[in-house]
């Protein structure tokens, strides 16, 4: 990074108003959210009948979306905690991007679970009458905990930046100024305050790792503790965590490119960041590929009758186009792109990130639904419509609305707060200058 004057850094990194592109982007997201909300109102009024969910495929794209959100949220712990604790400094400009992705994703993971419920008005019963032995209860507890920890991890490093932003009263406007004052008027840049903040961030970085592992392991146990073809695996926890790290890192690649090009942050999110992040994605894709081989090759070698139907459906049957698309786009093609130095240039890395995220969404769908269509004990005289699943427009709209909602949270966050930590960037620049 070039030597940059403090004022220049502040000027570059302060949140900017939406331009025309930004306004169109927000309008599109709001429109998708509104459609999703309308579809959800229809679902509330008519019940789950408006969906394609039936006795066989009782978990469709809502739960696929939930698993996807939980997965992508894991990136917060990877970039913020793992890289911070291992003293990797190049990730500093990416920490806030990773954290806001984590916060918005985990918040919508919780929401999408409620959407999947036929009677959301009974949600409170989960807390009143929850069964401690059930992984569903663990998931509720761990998601809530992870959301709180992620919010704190977002908030503590933001405090010095709030102080900086409060200095631009006219630029901020009344509402934003009040918001900044509410959140950080007490921050006076005192050494004692920095000491407490640093300590808190370190504690959070240590705490978030087991919680993040727990959230995804518990989510995998929602499936693995159920005796069904495709889910009956001891490998599921590690398989889910590796996949979660991959999709999260892919998401960061996309966000890096979008913020860099939209806010002209080329001096802060450099080609070197893409290069390093690209290497991380390759490593994670290879690990996830390894777990996929384990997950499919071992049962395919034994080919037990019930597993055979499920696996052949994925390899050569009705789900094979999605399966091979997901495997190729989430792992194989990104590896091929990012393994070369030229592939780790921003534009190609961005494309690889998109492939990873899109492929990973379909991968979650393949984990959830095909298994449900092949139960060990099929229903007697099962209606033909139960044996297939294709989401209705309401399901697509709600799932799309939730994805748009998560993007909207990230977009508004970037409008209100600096997406790259200003204070940390200044400190690191000073360190560079001294060195």
């Amino acid at each position: 990074m070039e030597k940059l004057a403090e004022n220049k850094i502040i000027e570059d990194l302060l949140p900017q108003k939406f331009g025309k592109q930004g306004q169109i982007w927000v309008a599109c997201l709001l429109a998708v959210c509104a459609l999703g909300f309308y579809a959800y109102c229809r679902q509330l009024y008519y019940g789950l009948e408006v969906t394609a969910l039936r006795d066989y495929a009782s978990w469709g794209i809502y739960i696929s979306n939930f698993v996807f959100f939980v997965a992508i949220s894991l990136v917060g712990s990877l970039i913020t905690a793992v890289l911070r604790l291992t003293d990797v400094h190049w990730s500093t400009p990416l920490t806030r991007i990773a954290e806001i992705i984590a916060v918005s994703a985990i918040a919508f993971a919780g929401l999408i679970i409620i959407v999947d419920m036929g009677r959301p008005d009974r949600f409170y019963n989960l807390f009143l009458h929850g069964r401690l032995q059930s992984p569903i209860i663990w998931d509720v507890i761990v998601i809530t905990t992870y959301l709180f920890i992620s919010l704190l991890l977002l908030y503590f490093p933001l405090l010095p930046d709030l102080k900086i932003m409060m200095g631009f009263k006219e630029r901020n406007g009344k509402f934003l100024q009040k918001l900044y004052e509410f959140l950080g008027s007490f921050w006076k840049n005192k050494p004692e305050q920095f000491k407490i903040t640093d300590k808190a961030i370190n504690i959070l970085s240590i705490t978030i790792i087991p919680v993040a592992f727990a959230i995804h392991t518990v989510t995998s146990w929602l499936f693995a503790t159920t005796y069904r073809p495709g889910w009956d695996s001891t490998n599921f926890g590690a398989y889910f965590i590796s996949g979660a790290f991959l999709v999260g890192a892919g998401g960061v690649l996309i966000a890096m490119y979008v913020f860099r090009s939209h806010y002209k942050l080329e001096k802060y999110i450099t080609d070197d960041h893409f290069d390093k992040m690209g290497k991380v994605v390759v490593l994670l894709a290879l690990i996830y590929l390894y777990f996929n081989i384990n997950e499919f090759l071992v049962p395919a070698f034994k080919m037990k009758k019930a597993e055979e139907e499920h696996l052949m459906g994925l390899f050569t049957g009705e789900f094979s186009p999605i399966f091979w698309f997901a495997i190729s786009t989430s792992m194989l093609i990104p590896i091929v792109i990012l393994i070369f130095k030229k592939g780790r240039k921003p534009k190609l890395a961005f494309i690889a990130g998109i492939l990873v995220v899109v492929g990973s969404w379909f991968k979650r769908f393949l984990i959830v639904t095909p298994t449900l269509l092949h139960p060990f004990l099929p229903m007697h005289d099962v209606p033909k419509s139960y044996t297939t699943y294709f989401p209705t427009w309401e399901e697509w709209a709600i799932a799309g609305g939730s994805l748009a909602g998560a993007l909207l949270v990230i977009t508004f966050f970037a409008r209100i707060f600096p997406i790259i930590p200003i204070h940390e960037t200044i400190i690191e620049t000073e360190h560079h200058e001294k060195a």
Binding site: L132, Q133, W187, E192, I196, I203, L204, V211
Partner: protein, 290 residues
């Protein structure tokens, strides 16, 4: 015009001929009705009919056949005992109603008739059965000995019957478990059989009760006769349930203690950290105000 109508008529006939031929091609199968008589513990009597037909060279059980049961003869509709329809095993069953008592008491021998009317696939069927009224009584003697006595009605007197095979055992899962290694016992001149009970460790109910059974099965003269007696010769069964135990698969509030300790300890530990950090925010605030 006439020629045109003639062509229409020919086309119509050609179109109908295959249907007519097909209709003629359907052949009905003959139906066999096998009737059986049961005397249950000298209290109730029932009749069972088995409907069978030879299809593709094999006898098959025929379901959904409507049947009518008669006592003595089917010539008089007053003798109708009842109606039934064969189930998926080709069987229909009827209890002999109290209304048939007068007819039953007329003679020591009794005829029964079962008839079925013709259906689309099967001809009408008919089955007859003649039985001599008999009864069997099971009893016990000291030393876990089972006695059974078979008597038949000769004129107006219940007379012991010799040389009839009797199964003596214990009622178990819908069948009869032999009392010892011997399968059947022929009745002696006094109509009696004696069997030693050797099933010492047989599980009974909560009081140790088991049901002794003496039975004559498919006898040509007497039909099926059964007598039962409850005796406390089994071992007591204690009802065991782990419904209220703390297990991973138990209901809410019954999770294993180790799981509760572990789960709550983790939750408390992590949330203590979160609360500690919230307190740190308060401390930062304090420092800012000072």
């Amino acid at each position: 015009m006439r020629k045109h109508k003639l062509i229409q008529l020919i086309v119509l006939v050609i179109a109908l001929v295959p249907g007519i031929l097909m209709a003629q091609a359907v052949e009905k199968n003959s139906l066999s009705l096998n009737l059986k008589y049961y005397n249950d513990n000298n209290v109730t009597h029932h009749l069972l009919v088995q409907a069978k037909s030879k299809i593709d060279g094999k006898f098959q059980q025929i379901p959904n056949i409507p049947v009518q049961f008669y006592i003595t003869s089917d010539a008089d509709k007053a003798n109708l005992l009842g109606k039934g329809v064969t189930n998926e095993k080709g069987e229909a069953l009827i209890e002999i109603p109290p209304a048939a008592k007068a007819e039953w008491l007329k003679s020591p021998n009794q005829n029964f008739v079962v008839v079925s009317t013709a259906t689309k696939k099967f001809d009408e069927g008919r089955g007859e059965l003649a039985v001599t009224k008999a009864k069997i009584k099971v009893d016990t003697a000291e030393g876990r000995i089972i006695n059974a006595k078979l008597v038949a009605l000769v004129d107006t007197t219940w007379t012991p019957i010799a040389g009839v095979d009797v199964i003596v055992g214990v009622k178990r899962l819908g069948g009869i478990l032999n009392a010892n290694e011997t399968q059947t016992y022929p009745t002696d001149s006094s109509g009696s059989v004696t069997a030693e009970f050797k099933r010492d460790s047989l599980p009974g109910d909560q009081k140790g009760n088991i049901v002794l059974v003496a039975s004559v099965v498919d006898n040509e003269t007497y039909g099926n006769l059964t007598s039962q007696l409850v005796v406390p010769w089994g071992t007591k069964s204690v009802y065991m349930t782990n419904f209220d135990h703390r297990t991973l698969f138990a209901r809410r509030g019954h999770s294993p203690i180790w799981l509760e300790i572990l789960a709550y300890a983790i939750v408390v530990a992590v949330w203590s950290v979160i609360i500690f950090l919230l307190v740190q925010i308060k401390n930062i605030k304090k420092l800012g105000v000072e």
